[in-house]
């Protein structure tokens, strides 16, 4: 089998030395991690490699020699390099050689032991694959299928070459800790050898985050203890708490904040990404909420809003009354069931009368209520939107009642029609006089608009809650961090020389990023997608603007 040598692009111009890395026998591939320069003491090299092996659980060893010299290697150098093979025994022994300033390389891999099968060559063909060490170290491979019984340390033949390479580089961070300014016994060349990469801001943030997290975590536990106390479990507070979307959203945000400020470190990259996504989501929410707050409280907009509210409610009620009067007569010349008309019409008119009295009762307090509601925007835009949704639900409750009656009747009619359609298509032709009075209630644009607006507000809140902003930002700015796979490019090739390939990271498409890293939102999302909303409107199924008992708890 062709031997694949994965060589880091940062070591291409390094001086001659030993190749340090890992050999994966099942895929016949050698992953070179660093180059160790002359002069060195073999004992110290073996000690260092044993330390690295223990710290990282990766089978790091000396794989061969690397020669980067001005012209063809001299005889003495050649013999010296061969003698190194005796000092560091490894099967197979790689010899990579490159002329200074030349493009083509020469690679040989020799096996000292005699081949067991007759006809197999003592020397293997070598294929060189260059990879960017920094990108491979920082990236996370998202393979399409994950085997269920795969363990963290084992790499069986079924995991594949790429997973082995990414795994090896990611776990050998210990090897990359020393740079050339250190005064250690050995000199290594790798991606950090020009100086270990670090950021002052990141270090300061890390130091400061400890006590801050502790403080905030204790505050949040206090808040959750208060909210879990027995007073809120009694009816009617528990009923309100479960129905209003504001309480739901506040609970959700509290959960998110507890996750962010928890003092436990994230165990694996998935948890870390989730934390980062939650932080980004909360920050965006608060930023949008503060923008809304500053817009609302400037130039006395709240006063204008409050002044406009009562006349609008009056106007709506008047229009509804006109509509009902029209329907109780002969709408569009249709002849209807007079008794049913009168009953339903008078019932709805009484509803409207009650509601208008309630609105007039509330009118002096509206401005204060709106001002305090506006303050809630500093908790986040989603909280403000949930409050708005609740207020709309409460203000238009009478319209919702009409919608419920109308939708139920319409639903009954649709069921009746569908059962009769079968009969119509069968043997008898039956002319039925349909009752059109209940159908026309659905054509009321106002009701549809209100219900649709509530549904849309819920979907918007869900979108802000569940969008993984950190992952999307990472995919936009640092696409190599989220890898769907790799791509290869064949470099300049000369006959007789080994094949050279460049391995680059293939970033994950945006749809898969959203799908993999979507934050769990509150339980109404799977039930209320956009398509489901339209379908429910059309078929007459009831749309509940609040959470039902049967919804999934998250």
């Amino acid at each position: 089998m062709v031997l694949k040598a994965f060589f880091p692009t940062c070591c291409v111009s390094a001086d001659s030395g030993l190749l340090v890395g890992r050999w994966v026998p099942e895929q016949s591939s050698a992953v070179v991690l660093a180059v160790l320069h002359f002069p060195f003491i073999p004992i110290q090299v073996k000690q260092l490699l044993a330390q690295v092996r223990q710290a990282s659980q990766v089978g790091v060893a000396v794989l061969g020699t690397w020669c980067h010299c001005r012209q063809e290697p001299e005889e003495s150098l050649g013999r010296f390099l061969e003698s190194l093979g005796a000092v560091f025994p490894h099967e197979p022994w790689l010899r990579l050689c490159r002329e200074r300033g030349g493009t083509f390389w020469s690679c040989e891999a020799t096996r000292r032991q005699a081949p067991t099968a007759p006809g197999a060559p003592g020397e293997d063909q070598v294929m060189l694959i260059f990879y960017d060490q920094r990108q491979v170290l920082l990236s996370q491979l998202h393979l399409p299928t994950v085997l269920p019984d795969r363990q963290a340390g084992a790499t069986t033949a079924s995991t594949g070459v790429l997973a082995a390479v990414f795994d090896t580089v990611a776990r050998s961070e210990v090897l990359f800790r020393s740079d050339r300014f250190d005064e250690g016994p050995v000199r290594l060349s790798h991606w950090q050898s020009e100086g270990v990469e670090a950021s002052i801001l990141a270090e300061l943030a890390r130091r400061a985050s400890g006590p801050i997290c502790l403080l905030l975590a204790s505050l949040l536990s206090l808040v959750s203890a208060v909210s879990a106390c027995r007073v809120f479990k009694l009816w009617p507070l528990s009923f309100l708490g479960s129905k209003l979307s504001t309480c739901e959203q506040l609970r959700h945000r509290l959960e998110h904040l507890t996750l962010i400020f928890s003092t436990r470190k994230a165990e694996n990259p998935a948890q870390l990404t989730r934390k980062a996504n939650t932080v980004a989501s909360v920050l965006l929410d608060v930023a949008l909420g503060l923008m809304l707050l500053s817009w609302l409280h400037g130039r006395s907009r709240i006063g204008h809003l409050a002044d406009a509210l009562v006349p609008v409610a009056d106007h709506v009620a008047e229009e509804l009354q006109h509509l009902l009067q029209w329907l109780m007569g002969a709408p569009a010349g249709l002849k209807m069931n007079r008794a049913l008309d009168q009953v339903l019409g008078r019932f709805f008119l009484y509803h409207i009368h009650l509601w208008i009295s309630y609105i007039h009762l509330m009118s002096p307090f509206v401005e204060h209520i709106l001002w305090h509601v506006g303050l809630s925007a500093c908790l986040g835009l989603t909280v403000a939107l949930s409050l708005l949704s609740d207020i709309i639900a409460l203000l238009t409750f009478h319209i919702y009642c009409f919608y419920v009656y109308g939708a139920r009747l319409y639903c009954l009619k649709i069921h009746g029609l569908s059962s009769l359609w079968r009969l119509f298509r069968g043997k008898k032709w039956n002319v039925l006089r349909q009752r059109v009075d209940s159908c026309s209630y659905d054509l009321d644009q106002l009701r549809l608009l209100v219900v649709a607006v509530q549904g849309l507000i819920h979907l918007l809140v869900d979108l802000i809650n569940s969008l993984p902003l950190y992952s999307l930002g990472l995919r936009l700015c640092r696409p190599y961090r989220l890898a769907a796979g790799v791509k290869f490019r064949v470099l300049q090739h000369e006959a007789g020389r080994p094949l050279r390939l460049l391995m680059q990271i293939n970033p994950l498409p945006y749809s898969r990023v959203v799908h993999t890293y979507r934050l769990p939102s509150c339980g109404c999302h799977p039930k209320h997608s956009w398509g489901a909303l339209c379908r429910k409107l059309f078929l007459g199924e009831l749309i509940y603007p609040w959470r039902q008992r049967g919804d999934k708890q998250d």
Binding site: M1, K4, I129, V161
Partner: protein
């Protein structure tokens, strides 16, 4: 080693197949699709603008004309970036895997790489496409659970759609490499 031949696709358009033999274990096949023809572009633009002008004479709103220009530009950009594929490449590297690249007219490239351990075989399959029966080359992937099963069929050269003669050329070369790979993988 590089050579180029011209074939035709299932609709009769001209395709150019470029074969590069880098080494006995690495081959690349590059299929170039016919370019966007000026005639069809002009026809579509004229239709859209005539329709917009007709609406304008009905409604007397000049926004329709600017909207039509906008839509034409956006539509053309979107077509070049997301739909029109210029070149499709198949790169086979023995013992590493198979890579398929599609380059779009706007320069975007989308690459898929399948490891050799997952590839079961490359075959030419028949399919019913609209009113025709066509041949297409596809890669069969192994099923991790069942040793003799196939988990996925990945078609190659989906937008170029070459005819059988072109497919046979590519198929023969790929089978040489796969046979070589199977022979060397069984020996230690």
């Amino acid at each position: 080693m590089e050579d180029e031949r011209s074939f035709s696709d299932i609709c009769g358009g001209r395709l150019a197949l470029q074969r590069r033999y880098y080494s006995p274990s690495c081959r690349e096949f590059c299929l170039s699709c016919p370019r966007l023809s000026l005639r069809s572009l002009t026809a579509v633009t004229c239709t859209v603008w005539l329709a917009a002008y007709g609406l304008f004479t009905l409604c007397e709103n000049s926004m329709i004309l600017s909207a039509a220009i906008f839509i034409t530009l956006l539509g053309l950009l979107g077509y070049l970036h997301f739909v029109k594929i210029d070149q499709e490449t198949l790169l086979i590297i023995d013992s590493l895997g198979i890579q398929m690249t599609s380059s779009y007219a706007s320069g975007k490239e989308s690459t898929t790489f399948i490891e050799m351990g997952k590839v079961k075989d490359i075959v030419i399959n028949e399919a019913i496409y609209m009113q025709k029966v066509i041949y297409y080359l596809c890669i069969l992937l192994k099923d991790p659970v069942e040793p003799h099963g196939i988990s996925q069929v990945v078609p190659v050269f989906q937008s170029a759609k070459p005819r059988l003669d072109c497919l046979i050329e590519v198929y023969r070369s790929c089978q040489e490499i796969l046979a070589h790979q199977k022979a060397t993988s069984t020996s230690p």
